[in-house]
Structure formats: C-alpha cells, structure tokens
Amino acid sequence: MAARPTTPASPKNVKINSPTPGMPLFGCEHVQLLLSNNPDVINNSIQYYKMLLRVIFDGNPLVPQTCKGLDGAITTSLTSNYLCLQCSAIVPEEERTKHGNKKSHRFYVDSRSGSLFCQVCEDFVWDPTLDDLRIRKMGTGSFSSRKRKHEEMFSDAVKDPLKDDPRYISSNTTIASCRADGLRGIYNAGATCYQNVVLQSFLHNPLLRNFYLSDGHQSSDCQVPHCLSCAMDDMFQDFYALENTNGYTAANILSGFWISEKKAFENLVTTKEQDAHEFFQFLAEELHERNGDGKKPETGSEHSCNCIIHQTFYGKLQSQTTCQHCGGVTNAIESFLDLSLGLENLSQKRGKKASKSAASLTLQECLDEEYIKSDKCEYRCRNCNSSQQARRDHSIKLLPNVLSIQLKRFEFKQGSRDRVASKISTKVQFPLQLNMLPYTTRGRTADARESQELRRSCTYDLLSVVEHVGEIDTGHYVTYSRVGDQWFSFNDHRVELAKKSDVLGSQAYLLFYIIRSLA
C-alpha cells in the first residue's frame, strides 16, 4: 500500500458553488446526496478531495500510480489508478467495482487527471464545485479563486457573467451574437501579410482580447488622431461583436502604420514584403506608447510599465558577467519583448557533426544555446581595474505572460560585394507545451528544478505560430492560432481548420507561448 499523507488539511469551511442559471448544482444525483449531508460531511468530503488533488498534482506521481493488487503485490502502473474518496484505498481500474461493493464507497478520483468517478453512474462526473477545484489546482497549483482559472482564459469571450452580480453585468453590456467568435480573415492590402499574421496573433491572444473587449482603450474617448490602439479597439470589436464571416479590412491599422511609418521601417516600399517580426515590435511599441506611461522603451534597460503590452509580452533578462581573474560578478538586467534565437551557428555546428540531411533543431536546443550555455567576452572589471576575460551567463529573471520567440531565419550574409539577405530554412521542432524553468535565473539551482510547483508556474502553452513560406523575397506569411483546443490557419482572408500536425510541421518564424497559469 502506498504511503499517503493522511493529515487533514486546514479545517477551513468549504462551500458548494452557489446556483448559477443554466447549470445544474451537482454533477449527478449521487454527488448531490453526498454534498447535501450535514455540513461536516460536506466539509470533510471536499477537504479530502482537495487533499487527493494535492497528492496527484503536487506530490510525486509515483504515489497515486502505485497500488496494492489483489494478491498483495505492489504495482506501479502507467495507466490511471483510482483513489477512493471515502477511504484511503488506491485501487486499479479492475478492482474499483469490487472495492465499491465491499465497502459501499461510491466515489473515486482518477490518479492522472483528478477527475471524479461515480460508481453508481458508472461514469465520470463533472461536478461544478469539485471540478472547479480540480481545474484551479491543475492550472495554478492553488485552490485560491483570486487566481485565474486555466479554462476561463480560453472559454468563449463574453460568456460568463461574474458571480457577484450577474444582473449588473447583463444590463450594462451587450451580448455579442453566438456567431461572433473572432475567427475572421484579414484582407491582404497588397503585400501586407506580414501585418496580418501579427494582427491575427494579437487577436487571438486572450490577454489583449480581454483588455480591448473590456474597454481597456475606448476609441470613442481617445483624442489622438490615427491612434493605432483605437484601430486595434475597432478591430477587436469587429471581430468579436459582429456576425460577419468575411475578411476584415484593416484600413485604420494600415493608415496608422503609414502615418508613423518613419519610426518603424527605414526603407519601406509598398510593394514589398516586410519582416513580420519588425512589425510585431513596431506594433508593440506603438501600443505601449498609446496605453502606457508614454516613455519610449529603451533597449538594454530595465523598463517597467504596467500597460497592457508590458503586462503581456515583456519579461526581464539577466546577464551575469563573471570576471575570470578575480571572480567578481556583475549583474545587468534588461527588459525584453521577445527572445531572438539564432539558428545559423547551431545548424552549422550540427551540420558538421551529423550528415547534412538530418539537420533539424529543436526549440529547446536553441534556448539551451542562448540561456544555459555561457559565452566568453572581454570585460572591463572594476575590481581588477583592467580589461579581463569574463564569462557571461544569460538567464531569464522574469518570465512574461506571453512569451514571444523569434527564430532568426533571415540573415544578412556578407557577400563579395554587398550584404545579401538570405533565409535559413532549417527545420526547428517546437513543442505544444514548453517548460521555461531551466532558462530562468531561479531554475539554476537544482532543488528549484525539482519543485513541481515552480515547474508548473513556468509552463507555457503554444498559442500562435507565424510561419514564413517560400523564399525571402517572394514568400508569404501564414498564422496558426489556437482558439480553445482547436487550431486554425489564417492565410490573409482565408480561415481554415488546422491540424496540430500542420501547426507543428510548419516552418515557424515567430512563436507565441502563453503561460498556463496567471499568477
């Protein structure tokens, strides 16, 4: 029998969710019986469920996966075991019924997902109160409702009326049509697919969407002429409030872009594709200026601002320089909008080692190269008062909510006469789920790497991929974005369903990962 902590959790009073219209109060009649008992039973059941969730999600997964079989042999299985909600038994699936009949225990918790199984229904039960706890635990690692639920971020836009007073919300908001789900294409206004892909990735970013749909920047109140943030506001309204399914004409964005064109791109030719990454930077900075403290973000400095763009995209990078002579350490911290990962060196190295055909990289290898390995540099040490060899380590001090990664596919090569832009089409494999802990400053210590809690807080899910297809001059940009669990491909005004394999097989240029739990 596996050792399981039996200490009861803090005897706080737990409540059953209050009834909400359109949702039954309990997952099934049997849960209803359990949770309509006297307060003590209710309290104990919920506390015990929470404890089981802690065992499943915080502890070592070996514990819930191990059980004692019929013959007394202890087995650890890869597939789900069932943790009895009414006693401390852990049984494999085959013996669930037997245990239930013997002890007349009705409820079990799946050892891999924490879901509740009702023996009487012979089915999994999604009780609003208990499942809420599970989702919260799974998403944020805590039961506190202060933190955002993992699911809420991806559920339908304006769906849930807030619990405090639903009527207040409904009388002061307009409910968008069920058809308006934000899935529309954007017309190509003549070589503007580099803008469209970035706009689509913004449109399906839950943080930006919530900001704009909750009147974070009201275009009716804004006095700035040709304000790009107003144009964004209008665009979000058009995508999430109108029933239109045809493409969107991003005329205001385009004119806003042209009006402030000099800042962003030096030699802009209308008929030529531009770099989507540059447009991303341009748009982020522009929106920061409209919504933030008005200061221009300086490169190489630690810039803190609580505008929506900073809250969404900006993280902090620490570079630690260690003098090889005296061992003195200097830390420099700077804000970053995105992580740019070089491909060329790595793919060349790889090319030498292995045969050239097998030259495919993984995103983690690229991250390792930049944020785990250290490099050497010349450095003027204050202690030694002379120029010394130094070791430089980069790590991420503060992870952003939406991590944007650029894979440097376009590079200028020093040709014989002038610099020639070229594209590196090395395949880079990237995961749907990314753990950033090893690249953080905190993740440097071994025990931090062991912590499930910390691990979970550094887990990112893939949100959008911007792909560049074709050659450097004649190429085209396409976005893949996830809405809920469904992926869509946005190719200018065409929106189509996409398979995960399409997404993962794409030649990514920009990657947007969103943090799983908002702390």
Binding site: R167, E261, V269, T270, H493, L497
Partner: protein
C-alpha cells in the same frame, strides 16, 4: 505487468518469445497509447457531458419560468417542476440521471437555441433540419478550398506569394469582369456559375484622402498618399504619363473632390451613365471570348447585398485605374470642370459622344430582364443600370458625369 506481453490497451504486442526488456518496452508503449486515448476521451466526455447537463438545466429553468408566469422574468420562481432530465426546485437545478443518457441535444448557453451538431458541408456533414432555428454558432466546416464558414474565395492563381504583377492581372480581371454587370441579368448563367458564398474583395476608404480604394491596392495607395514616398509618387506619375496614350474612354480622370462630396440629386446623373453604358458595351464586344471568366464574378441577382458590394468594388477599381492614368495637369482641369460642369468642355468628351450612340438601344434591350429598369425614371436611364448601388452609384455617376455631361444638357 512485465509478465504479460502487452499493456492495458492491448494493441502493441511483443512477439512470442521476446525478451523481458522487449516485453516491457512493448507494454510501456501500449500503456502510453492507452493514456493518450484516455485523455482525449476524457476531454471530449467532459465537454459533452457539461454541455448536456447545462442543456437540461436551461430547459428545466425555462419550464419553471413558464409555469410561474411571473411578471419579473429575471427573478427565480419559487416553483418545483421537473423534466426527464432535471428537477427545478426553488432556484436550484438538480440532475436526474446521467445527462448523456437523458439529454440528446445541446442548447447554446447564451442564446438558448439548439446547437447545430454537424457541419453543413465538407467532412462529416449532415443536412440540418430546416424546421429548426439553430444557434448561430455552427460547427466549422472542413472542406478543401472552402473556409470554416463554407465560404470560398476568388482564386489567386498558383503559388501562395502574390507579386505586383499578379495583383494587377487580378485587378484587371476584376474590373473587366464586373463592367458587364447589366448583362448578367440577361445571361442568367452568372448566378449559377458563381457560388453565393464567394468572398470578394471589398473597398475601404483611405483615411487621408477619403477615396474609396479596393483593399488589395490599399497598402500601395496609402504608401503614396500618406507615406512620404515622393520617389514613388514621381515614378507613378511617369507611369501615368506613359500610359496616357493607350488610355481610351476608360481613362476619364476622376476628380477626387466629387467623391468626397455627398451624393447629389440624380438630375445630373443621367448623361454620364450613357457614357458608362457605352463603355460597357465596348467591353462586352471586346471581351466576349473570356466571358466565362466574367461570369464567375458576376453578382447573383438574388443577393442584393452581395451585388452592392461588388458594385462598390467596381467603382473603386475603376477609379483607381483612372487615377493612375491621369496626369496631374488633367485633374486640375477636371476640378474646374466639376465646379462649373455646364459650361466646360473636356478633351475626351468627343470620344464619348461617338461611342455613346449605341448605348440606349442596348440598354433598353437589357432593360427587359431587369425589373428596376422599367421604373418611371427611364428618362435618366443611367440610373437604372445599377439599381442596388445606392449612394455609391450616385457618386460614381457624378464622377463620370463631370466628363460627359455637356452632350445631354
């Protein structure tokens, strides 16, 4: 577990007589497959069961509201009712049995209309019940060549990248495919050959000069209109001048001022349309052989909204062309012309007069098939040529009117 030669799913089996490690490896892989399927199933199960449970709840709540028949619809009625799937008891909804068994369909939690459960087209499609009003959120369509709403688009030709050349070709195609608009009524084939859910390119207004520009040209336009591209502008001007020779009747310069203005009464709009009609006929004659191409783009008469879009679109493309071809000196003249339309003469006007002659006849012939043509406004038959265009039409007629108004007045 290592004793058996497979895992829980029983799909991956080690061969008979395989070594212990071999068996273990097979068992592990088999278990992992089992877990993947298990997780996927759980996710779908959860979505489906919650949706059905909430459907049961919505139904019983509605029943409760109907039974209580109170004047305040928002208040929770203090009644106890039940359906096959749920019980309503003073504001609380309790399930009866497993919603997966008791409730067969899903109701939208927002609009309370039934959800369409299958896509209407493409993969896994089923015909929806026409007697039911469904929630507007439909399952997405998975069909090659169509988007998630079952819309298709104007083919862009091979290759994903679009170059300037391609774009111009397409534009041309668009503009001459749309000029013979009235003919669509007589042909009748236009509606059939062009699917009603075809997406076409709309126009947008430039925020600076307020001109209506076809969206595919918008970036280009803004670059020269807003952007500082003086070099571009001069290059464009040079191009215009060189193009000026082969610019025939189509190349009537459109003074921007007329487009900015609100539509004016149609009294002046009579003549210009004759000119336009004549152009159309010319086009028809010239390009009969690629009429199939045109038909593809022809607006369906049934779909007025669609038509409007396209007409607008035509204006835009037409104007744009004109703009490109107009040298700056010409446009100045035309501005004057616009202010004082009656007295002015324009160089291109004579050409108009010649080509205009056959137009009324053709127009009338066409008119038979077009219901709106028989309107009492036959005096200004130009107006009838574009019945659904609304304000845009007036604008267009006005703009072309600046050139050809003298003959009629």
């Amino acid at each position: 577990m290592a004793s058996s030669n497979t895992g829980k799913a029983g799909v991956i089996r080690a061969p008979e007589g395989a070594g212990k490690m071999d068996q273990l490896a097979h068992a592990v892989l088999d278990d992992l497959l089992y877990n993947i399927v298990h997780d996927l199933l759980m996710q779908t199960h959860r979505e489906e069961k919650i949706a059905r449970a909430s459907t049961a709840a919505i139904r019983v709540e509605k029943l409760a509201a109907d039974t209580s028949d109170s004047s305040a619809p928002d208040a929770r009625p203090d009644v106890k009712v039940e359906t096959d799937a749920a019980i309503y008891d003073e504001g609380k909804v309790l399930l009866k049995g497993n919603p997966l068994a008791t409730t067969k369909d899903i109701v939208c939690p927002r609009c309370h209309l039934p959800r369409l459960l299958y896509p209407t087209d493409g993969k896994g499609a089923k015909k929806p019940d026409p007697s039911i009003i469904y929630c507007k959120k439909h399952p997405y369509i998975d069909k090659p060549g169509y988007d998630i709403y079952g819309q298709t688009w104007v083919a862009q030709g091979p290759g994903r990248g679009k170059k300037k050349k391609d774009m111009e070709k397409k534009l041309e195609q668009n503009s001459d495919s749309q000029t013979p608009g009235p003919e669509g009524g007589t042909g009748g084939g236009g509606a059939a050959s062009r699917p009603p859910n075809m997406l076409s390119f709309p126009s947008a207004t430039c925020s600076k000069c307020k001109r209506c520009i076809l969206v595919t040209r918008l970036n280009n336009h803004m670059g020269s209109c807003i952007g500082n591209s003086g070099r571009n502008a001069s290059r464009a001007a040079a191009q215009k001048i060189s193009n000026g020779n082969n610019a025939n009747g189509n190349a009537d310069g459109t003074p921007p001022s007329s487009q900015k203005g609100t539509p004016r009464p149609s009294s002046r709009a009579g003549s210009p349309h004759k000119k336009r009609d004549s152009d159309e006929i010319e086009d028809d004659d010239d390009t009969d052989n690629d009429s199939h191409k045109k038909k593809k783009l022809k607006p369906t008469p049934a779909n007025a909204a669609n038509k409007k879009l396209i007409l607008k679109h035509k204006n835009a493309s037409g104007n744009k062309k004109e703009k490109v071809k107009t040298s700056s000196s010409l446009s100045v003249e035309q501005k004057v012309d616009d202010d004082d339309a009656e007295g002015s003469t324009v160089e291109v006007a004579p050409k108009k007069r010649i080509t205009k002659v056959p137009s009324p006849a053709k127009k009338l012939k066409l008119g038979a098939s077009k219901p709106l043509l028989s309107s009492p406004m036959s005096k200004s038959n130009g107006k009838t040529s574009a019945p659904s265009g609304g304000g845009d039409d007036d604008r267009e007629s006005e703009s072309s009117g600046t050139l050809s108004s003298p003959p009629v007045v």
